[in-house]
């Protein structure tokens, strides 16, 4: 697990659902074929309405036209991030697009589980609402060990919530590695 995650922020609002993260028409691609799965990067967050895409201004493409990866590394979300479907294509597409961490006020249950058990990235929870303090394009640094987020663009530091019951799975990498370490499989 990386101890420091740094990169540019892409900011979204509340209730970003899985149809916005990856519209259902794209769920036909293989998640295991290296070439085919690139399409998930291409269409990641393509369902977000234009006004809500990259706050506060909006109208910012997460993945540029014709590209398969995003220039952004960290997503800042509001409450109930990832609500809706159980599709693991949702955290997978963000990972494929290059996302290394999400920090949201709260998560929908299945998205949270999928992110942790699948080992896609750490779904951090913020202690307060960050959507007003961080702008899309800001340069961020997350210190995983201390559980802090620094906005290098504004020199502000924020405390992240402890990982709680999933910390051991996060540390192991995913549910399979956790189970192997625990002697379950």
């Amino acid at each position: 697990m990386e101890q420091v995650i740094a990169g540019r922020a892409y900011v979204l609002g509340d209730n970003i659902d899985t149809d916005q993260i990856i519209p259902a028409e794209h769920l036909v691609y293989s998640l295991s074929d290296p070439e085919e799965k690139k399409n998930y990067g291409k269409f990641a967050l393509s369902g977000v309405p234009e006004d809500d895409a990259g706050l506060p201004e909006g109208n910012k493409l997460f993945v540029e036209e014709g590209k398969f990866e995003s220039e952004y590394t960290i997503i800042i979300g509001g409450k109930n991030f990832g609500c809706g479907s159980s599709r693991e294509h949702a955290p997978a597409c963000l990972k494929i697009a290059g996302i290394q961490a999400i920090i949201a006020t709260s998560y929908a249950r299945i998205f949270y589980r999928n992110s942790v058990d699948g080992g896609f990235f750490i779904p951090f929870e913020s202690s307060g609402k960050l959507v007003n303090d961080i702008r899309t394009e800001d340069n961020l640094t997350i210190n995983v060990e201390t559980g802090t987020l620094t906005n290098n663009s504004s020199n502000q530091t924020f405390k992240l919530q402890p990982l709680g019951e999933v910390a051991e799975i996060v540390k192991a990498g995913n549910i399979f590695e956790y189970a192997r370490k625990a002697g379950m499989i």
């Binding site: 209730n15 659902d17 149809d19 916005q20 519209p23 259902a24 028409e25 769920l27 036909v28 691609y29 293989s30 998640l31 295991s32 085919e36 369902g47 977000v48 309405p49 409450k79 109930n80 609500c83 809706g84 479907s85 159980s86 599709r87 693991e88 294509h89 955290p91 709260s106 929908a108 249950r109 299945i110 589980r113 999928n114 058990d117 699948g118 080992g119 019951e165 995913n174 549910i175 399979f176 189970a179 379950m184 499989i185």
Partner: protein, 432 residues
């Protein structure tokens, strides 16, 4: 302190006397269900983690139901069904409902019920968020992703954080024009789309227990739209009659103790309920149907696991019988058994299918169809700025295909009444 139904089921499956909300436990899984959208990904993780020649933990406990992208020319979607077929053959799985055969069923959540895979007291996981539907049978059921499903395929186990329970009681009697869909939209509107996150939605009260199994499934189906982990309704004679007609397998009926601990309890007077819609673009954007009578619609859609069951179509037929629709109206039975009911069951001497055809509706084949948009050639999918009244479960931006279309979630009564007028219409204007 007593336990809720959910706590009792989870404790029994973790070989514990009791469990406490917030506790993380490992449970033994009775049924794992997957479908064409998440099955291929699940299978590839299973093979990667357990080996190319690995066998599933128990072939009697795996159910595979293709239902999402069935009637499409999309080559990737069709390839995904081939992957399911190959896995079923390799693992010799007995419960597979293949496309293009007499065995094909349609939407997994209703197919699970109709094929006897929902049994009181059991633990069922499915790679679909609406797996919570099965809670209508007094069981624990919830949606998971591909990784968790692959873990179950290999081990038969999964970790669960024991949820706190919220109890929704409806006393008295619902008016005739009220359906379970109105009730779940009312409650989600009251608690919000994350009002039940990490929690159980337990339904109780004599008005709920007077519902058919189909209506109970509608109530439990949309627990996920409130963020719920699962929904549950205690099994009674109605449940047991339905189950015994479909399976000989044993089951256990659990009841919540009177002194069980609830995070929240709310009692509603069933007689005061009114027809409800969820306006675009969120299932908690609640309004009374009668407050939306100036909203013009382009389309009415009656289908899906939420609103495509026999009782849903019987309600719609009651309103559409002998009349003509004013807008494009799509009828999509959830399963082939429902389709047969449309062909075989009558209202005032006329089959439901003929009632819909004569009213000018378009009839689709059993599948998830446009509930979640899907490939471009999906039956009933939106492609532009359509305003749709729909009996489905989600109205997020782009959910039915086009990001520019607007979806109003409603009961089959409301969807049928609105189809006749071309505007959102309270079914009380049409019933009597």
């Amino acid at each position: 302190m007593g336990l809720t139904i959910t706590e009792k089921i989870l404790a029994a499956h973790a070989s514990k006397d009791k469990v406490t909300p917030g506790e993380t436990i490992w449970v033994d899984v009775d049924v794992l269900m997957t479908h064409d959208v998440c099955g291929p990904g699940t299978i590839s993780i299973f093979k990667e983690q357990f080996g190319e020649n690995a066998k599933v933990f128990d072939r009697e406990k795996v159910v595979i139901i293709p239902d999402h992208y069935i009637f499409t020319s999309d080559k990737h979607a069709n390839r995904n069904i081939d992957i399911l077929r190959e896995f079923v053959s390799e693992q010799n799985l007995p419960y597979y409902y293949d496309v293009g055969t007499e065995n094909y069923k349609g939407v997994c959540h209703l197919a699970l019920a109709q094929e006897g895979h929902n049994r009181p007291g059991e633990v069922l996981f499915g790679t679909d968020s609406h797996t919570c539907t099965s809670g209508a049978f007094g069981m624990f059921s919830t949606g998971i992703g591909n990784t968790d499903a692959a873990f179950i395929l290999g081990t038969g186990k999964l970790w669960v954080k024991v949820p706190e329970s919220m109890q929704f009681e409806f006393t008295g009697k619902f008016p005739d024009y009220i359906m379970a869909k109105d009730i779940i939209l009312q409650v989600i509107g009251d608690i919000g789309v994350d009002g039940a996150t990490y929690r159980t939605m337990e339904w109780t009260g004599n008005a709920i227990m007077n519902f058919s199994m189909e209506e109970r499934m509608t109530l439990c189906n949309m627990a996920i739209e409130g963020g719920g982990k699962n929904a549950v309704i205690e099994a009674d004679e109605v449940t047991l009659k339905y189950v015994k007609e479909r399976t000989n397998k044993p089951y256990n009926v659990y009841r919540s103790d009177h002194d069980a601990n609830y995070y929240f309890k709310k009692t509603y007077d069933a007689s005061t309920m009114e027809p409800i819609v969820a306006k675009p673009h969120s299932p908690d954007n609640k309004a009374l149907v009668r407050e939306c009578s100036d909203v013009k619609i382009d389309r009415s859609y009656i289908g899906s696991c939420t609103g495509g069951k026999y009782t849903d179509f019987l309600a719609a037929a009651n309103i559409l019988n002998g009349k003509k629709v004013a807008v494009n109206t799509f009828i999509v039975p959830a399963t082939t058994e429902v389709y047969k009911d449309l062909e075989g069951k009558t209202l005032n001497g006329k089959t439901l299918l003929n009632i819909f055809k004569d009213a000018g509706c378009e009839i689709g084949d059993a599948s998830c169809a446009a509930c979640l948009g899907g490939p471009k050639d999906t039956f009933g999918r939106t492609h532009g700025t359509e305003v749709v009244v729909s009996t489905t479960n989600r109205n997020f931006p782009g959910r039915m295909g086009s990001k520019q279309s607007e979806v109003y979630l409603a009961s089959p009564y409301t969807a049928a009444a609105s189809a006749l007028t071309g505007r959102i219409t309270d079914p009380r204007e049409m019933l009597n």
